[in-house]
Symmetry: C2
Subunit: 187 residues, 2 copies
DNA sequence: TTGATACGAAACACTTCGTTCTGTATCAGT
DNA sequence: ACTGATACAGAACGAAGTGTTTCGTATCAA
């Protein structure tokens, strides 16, 4: 890709995430992004059809990274009353979020973030299915499989949001334990 | 209240909910609401400071009704492996939604509905606390109380959303059973 | 009937949006 | 180093929306 393109694209992404940490998605205008990124109006619309597509592309970049690395991990053991969460993918995800992906956390804690939440859940779903489905854990339950997957996914996202609203005082290990305590009894 | 005021307020509410069933909240302009409601621009801003406040007032009216009636119900029995969900408040809520409150369902299934979701959860939380807290069910768990309340609340909202995405093919009784199966094992 | 007030219509200045034009600077490939 | 391609900035555009103000009219409660 052209160096100029890469530079502009990055400048816009950085400006956008920076603004998102300050205010709501809806309250951010294209003009502000342009000004912050120090980029011409033409350039913005050459890269992104609209503000929504900018968010979409940003999400794909963020999640493509974090989920793909999690996909490569060995599958932990998930059984009721197991209690051991040290090798959970979820623990890995939380650590990754805490250490490297402040962007995602900022997006999660911002308001008017449904679009973002949809991408988060959509990507997370793949990961969860790949984790549980192979073991048949999703079929043993008396609940419909897609209901169960949706429940697990949403619960994890809610858990992260709750963690954030507590200023992440708890350790990733503690949070993983909370989460697994709500999920494992169902499986 | 002045008859004129009541009439205008209702016309605006009706226009708004009607538009919400067609398109996203963000895509609806004040101009459209005014035109649909057949009301002067001045009138709209005399009643509602902004479009967000209109949604807020609408939510308060919708939830004020549904939650208050649910609050007055006798408290059902909630124990693991109970299986009987016939007298659950949640069942009552689902029936009420199915029969009377299409508005709420339309809002729930629309996109860009975070503001609405916040009101839904906020009101639901009160109901859930009043249901479970008295029995000490929220303290027996090894999970923090507010984490648990948040988990239950979010799970119910997600359940309703899932139901909607399935065109409400399942009966309210069936949905209540699904929901309780995910919650009761934790308590 | 009367004074209060909710209303509609129109115009206001302002912001944002997405597009288009023009000229310039930077790119990759020969 | 040369060249054609292209990404860029800047400026201007019409269209649309926002929230406010003014003014005259219609409806209200008492």
């Amino acid at each position: 890709m052209d160096r100029r393109q890469k530079k502009s694209r990055e400048a816009i992404f950085n400006a956008f995430t920076s603004l998102l940490s300050e205010k709501n998605y809806n309250q951010i205008s294209v003009q502000e992004i342009i000004d912050t990124a120090d980029v011409g109006r033409t350039t913005f619309y050459a890269h992104f059809e609209t503000k929504d597509y900018l968010l979409k592309d940003l999400c794909e970049e963020l999640f493509g990274h974090i989920i793909d690395t999690a996909m490569g991990l060995p599958h932990g053991h998930y059984h009721y009353s197991c209690g051991n969460a040290t090798d959970s993918v979820f623990l890995h995800l939380l650590r990754h979020l805490q250490e490297n992906d402040r962007h995602i956390l900022e997006l999660l804690s911002s308001q008017n973030n449904d679009l973002f939440l949809r991408y988060f859940k959509s990507n997370l779903k793949k990961l969860i299915i790949s984790q549980y489905a192979q073991k048949g854990l999703l079929k043993n339950s008396k609940l419909p499989e897609d209901y169960l997957v949706n429940h697990i996914t949403s619960s994890f996202v809610e858990t992260v949001s709750w963690w954030l609203s507590h200023d992440m005082k708890e350790s990733p290990e503690q949070i993983t334990e909370y989460f697994l305590k709500t999920i494992e009894p169902i499986l």
